[in-house]
Amino acid sequence: MTETADLAPSLGKIRPAAGFASDYGETPAPAAVVRPKPVRVVVIGEFNSGKTTLVNALLGAAVLPASFTTHTAYPTVVRFAARPSLRAEIAQRRRVPFAWDELDGASTHQIRRLHVGMPLDPLRTLRAVDTPGLGLGDESLDARTLRSCRSADVVIWCTPAMQAWKASEQRAWLALPQAARRRGLLAVTFMDQLRGASDASRLLARLSTDAAPLFKRMVTASAHAVDPDLRAALAAGATEAGG
């Protein structure tokens, strides 16, 4: 109980994302109904490619802190919970409470991943894993992140629209086992940053020949809107996984 009280200040930061029109949340599923197992979505990509923003957009709330200067440091699992909770997993799978603003300081524990529980409706059908960005120079961290895709139902690779699909991204993606890539979605993020209406179509035309064939599907995303195709693809992933 005391833990919940401790969490209150950091949870206060959570607010609905601006302008976000949720497809969920209008009619919460009754708790009694037997729900299918939530689809496990792992979001990967290079640093600052909009992974955390995409997770927040999917959830319809700024659950995770997204920033251009401090990167996501640990894999973060977001799942449904009746009450908000923030736990850090340390050695021997022990979990201890944490607050976001404690993370950048020197932690006494070796954190393996973070667990965030939230009473948000989208989380009834989906469990999201946000990951540290690739390509910051720590190859063993990159390898760990890529391994986490193996158990995912859906793997979303984020590529930022302004500098989309570089050789390093292609290399990292192709290094994944084919089984993981078959469950892959290419999310072109920051679509709202493009500098002209025609840019989007030209960019997507290139990506559809150069990158999309390496994925099950290509979708677009921005901080304020999630391509309906992405939700459809996630729902499809859920059917496949849940069957």
Binding site: A164, Q193, S198, S222
Partner: protein, 744 residues
């Protein structure tokens, strides 16, 4: 775009006064102009013997430009940056997709008349095309060495795409075009797009001919330069291009620029690839890099993020590359272009300064996103942005980057070249000064002697003859010793060569064995080593250190021999004119701080290939000992070749230096000799008169001539002094600019 930033609309909409970018290279241009004028004046003062040296200097002053390479990953905004720096928005074609595929050199030189050809495009030769499009170039070669028989499907598919596209765009007979050179009187965006842009995959049949697939290089010439000093800007296709063939072309075609501008995106600054490239560049070209953090206007929360991003980048650079102090400039080339357009009246000024209401923008953007993509027909509609531009209060960074470039120029090879030219001119003038003073003295003495009595004159003539004969002896001995000294120089170079060869070879072999042993040990401890990487950066550093140390030692030996040479020359000078203290031939001729090229160390080697290829290597070789041996061979093959190239570079560098030293002493001694020859001729006439050949009229004529010559010598002394004073002030200016830029 900062819509989220509360109160951004209240930020003073007053733009920083739009000032032209600092004229790049102004301090050096002042020196260059002064020197060009001085070369002409010195040419008028000095005789034929100086002409070859002066011609070289004149050509260097006319032709040498500062080469600035703009490099970075794809879509960092390199072409946009060049457009803004050159103050020509829309010049180089840009696009949302990787667009620049050909290395493009833009030559800017202030000249009264436009260049004969504004654009020159060289297409690949038949051999180059075959090597690239059919062989896959160096990348393929390295891959073949790592995993024989394996060619990445991706590379193969891409080569196929390239061949097919060239055929579709240029017709089945396109190989006939190879080896051609296309010239244009004017540069138009359309022509540039035809030769340097990637172009769209499927819009070309039946349209304009699109040559970029087979274009090797593009040269653009401009005579109305926005820069002070002659500048060549080099636009490059981005690195980290998933189209592997293009990545290869870029790496190969960057030849020795004076300065690098490394453009990175503020959104994903300094990835592992960026750092690796900076580390390599820094190893190779210390003190010659500016980092430009581009696209600041695209930070989602500009006012809050900008300072933080900049601080984070500077911190990262300090941790990753602690040894150096790379200037970092934060800005937006896109904004720079926009301001230039606004200045030119192409855009209403409001487009660059009116912030959009914070609430309206996100909805508009969202609506736009929900629209399905339209056809690509409207692309290239113009450079007018569809985006709102609230980023008025940030600096576009162009003035700062220009200042940083100017500072680097003041310590670059160009500044050293100018200094060297100034020193060389001063030396020639001092030599002429010495000979003239000596001649004047002898004429005056002879005239004086003649006035007294003929006996004294005879004695004086005999004395002068002896002194000149002594000079001849000295000079003969000297030219003998020149040959000896030159042989000595060559010996030093040969020794350095041997030493480099054996030491670099040992360094490479020891490193390769060590790495092989590590690998074998690692494999014994753990069978799966998928994350194992061999880092050859330490080897590169070790080789560089050994190389520079040996070359340095050889250079010191050269200095010492050079030091033995000068006293002999000075002795001759004092035999001509014991009272002269003009400071001739002091110190080594070679500019301090000039370093030999380490470019071969930047070559891509097999070990640099990607992790996935190495994984394949692991799976194709099962026995750990065999793996270790193969690794050793790979390292040795690549780096022994690099070692050979370094030996070559060292030899070129040291030979250039010796040639320069010898050129200098030869110019000085031949200057002295010319003076002496003139005096010998005079003396012969004097002797003839003395011995009664010729009449009184001839004697009078001779005397008048001698008086005129003496007068001319006196006049020239004034001119020499003036030229020397000006050269001194040029040198001081260059030194001052260099000192300032070191401090700044």
């Amino acid at each position: 775009m900062g819509h989220e930033a509360p109160g951004l609309g209240e930020v003073s909409p007053v733009e920083p006064p739009s000032q032209p970018a600092e004229t790049i290279g102004a301090p050096l241009e002042a020196a260059r102009t002064a020197l060009r004028d001085l070369v002409t004046r010195v040419g008028g003062l000095l005789g034929e013997h100086a002409a070859p040296l002066l011609d070289v200097a004149r050509r260097q002053l006319e032709e040498r430009s500062c080469r600035i390479a703009v490099i970075g990953q794809i879509k960092a905004g390199k072409s946009t940056f060049i457009n803004a720096l050159a103050r020509r928005p829309g010049l180089l074609p840009t696009d949302i997709n990787p667009w620049t595929v050909v290395v493009t050199a833009l030559h800017f030189r202030a000249a009264p008349t436009p260049p004969e050809h504004a654009a020159v495009f060289h297409l690949f030769s038949v051999d180059e095309w075959r090597e690239l499009a059919e062989g896959g170039g160096r990348l393929r070669e390295l891959t073949e060495r790592l995993v024989p028989g394996f060619q990445s499907d991706l590379l193969r598919a891409q080569l196929e795409v390239m061949r097919k596209r060239a055929e579709r765009r240029l017709g089945p007979k396109f190989p006939e075009l190879l080896g051609q050179c296309h010239r244009y009187q004017t540069v138009s965006p359309q022509v540039l797009a035809d030769y340097v842009s990637a172009g769209d995959a499927d819009t070309w049949p039946g349209q304009r001919r699109h040559y970029s697939d087979i274009t090797r290089s593009a040269e653009l010439h401009f005579n109305d330069s926005p820069f002070a000093f002659p500048i060549t800007l080099i636009d490059t296709p981005g690195t980290n291009d998933p189209f592997l063939v293009r990545d290869e072309i870029t790496r190969r075609s960057l030849e020795n620029p004076d300065i690098y501008v490394f453009v990175v995106s503020a959104l994903q600054p300094l990835s592992a690839g960026d750092i690796a490239m900076l580390r390599l560049l820094n190893g190779l070209h210390k003190d010659r890099i500016v980092v430009f953090i581009n696209r600041a206007d695209q930070l989602p929360n500009l006012s809050a993020d900008a300072p933080e991003v900049k601080a984070a980048i500077e911190r990262r650079l300090r941790t990753e590359l602690p040894s150096l102090n790379i200037p970092v400039v934060f800005g937006s080339a896109w904004l720079g272009n926009l301001r230039l357009q606004a200045e030119a009246g192409a855009l209403p000024p409001s487009a660059t300064r009116e912030p959009t209401p914070a609430s309206a923008a996100p909805c508009a953007r969202e609506a736009e996103l929900r629209r399905r993509p339209e056809t690509a027909s409207d692309h290239h509609a113009g450079s007018e942005p569809a985006r709102a531009v609230p980023a008025v209060h940030i600096s576009c960074g162009m003035a700062e980057v220009s200042a940083a470039i100017t500072r680097l120029m003041c310590t670059s090879g160009i500044a050293m070249l100018l200094r060297q030219i100034a020193l060389c001119l001063a030396e020639l003038v001092r030599t002429a000064d010495v000979t003239d003073r000596a001649e004047l003295q002898s004429i005056l003495e002879l005239i004086e002697a003649r006035r007294r009595e003929s006996e004294t004159l005879a004695r004086r003539v005999a004395e002068e003859e002896r002194s000149l004969a002594a000079f001849e002896d000295h000079a003969k001995a000297l030219s003998g010793s020149f040959e000896e000294v030159e042989a000595h120089f060559r010996g030093i170079i040969a020794t350095a060569r041997e030493l480099l060869h054996s030491q670099l070879g040992t360094t490479v072999r020891e490193f390769a064995s060590r790495e092989a042993a590590y690998l074998q040990q690692a494999l014994q401890e753990k069978q799966r080593c998928s994350a194992w990487r061999c880092d050859v950066m330490p080897l590169r550093e070790e080789m560089e250190e050994a190389y520079l140390a040996i070359v340095e030692r050889a250079a010191k030996d050269l200095d010492q021999v050079e030091g033995l040479l000068y006293p002999q020359l000075r002795m001759i000078v004092s035999s001509l004119l014991p009272t002269y203290h003009g400071g001739l031939l002091e110190g080594p001729a070679w500019p301090e701080g000039a370093k030999p090229s380490v470019a071969p160390l930047g070559d891509r080697v097999t070990v640099d290939l990607s992790v996935s290829l190495w994984r394949r290597w692991f799976s194709s070789r099962r026995i750990s000992k065999e793996r270790a041996n193969h690794l050793r061979c790979l390292i040795e093959d690549d780096f022994l070749k690099i070692a050979d190239e370094l030996v070559q570079e060292a030899e070129t560098y040291l030979t250039e230096r010796v040639d320069y030293i010898m050129g200098r002493v030869r110019a000085v001694s031949s200057g002295l000799k010319t003076g002496v020859e003139r005096r010998t001729a005079n003396l012969a006439r004097e002797r003839a008169l003395l011995e009664g050949v010729g009449d009184a009229e001839a004697a009078e004529r001779f005397e008048t001539e001698q008086r005129q010559r003496a007068e001319a010598c006196r006049e020239r002394q004034g001119a020499y002094a003036a030229v020397l004073a000006e050269l001194q002030s040029v040198i001081e200016g260059l030194d001052g600019a260099q000192g300032e830029s070191r401090m700044g």
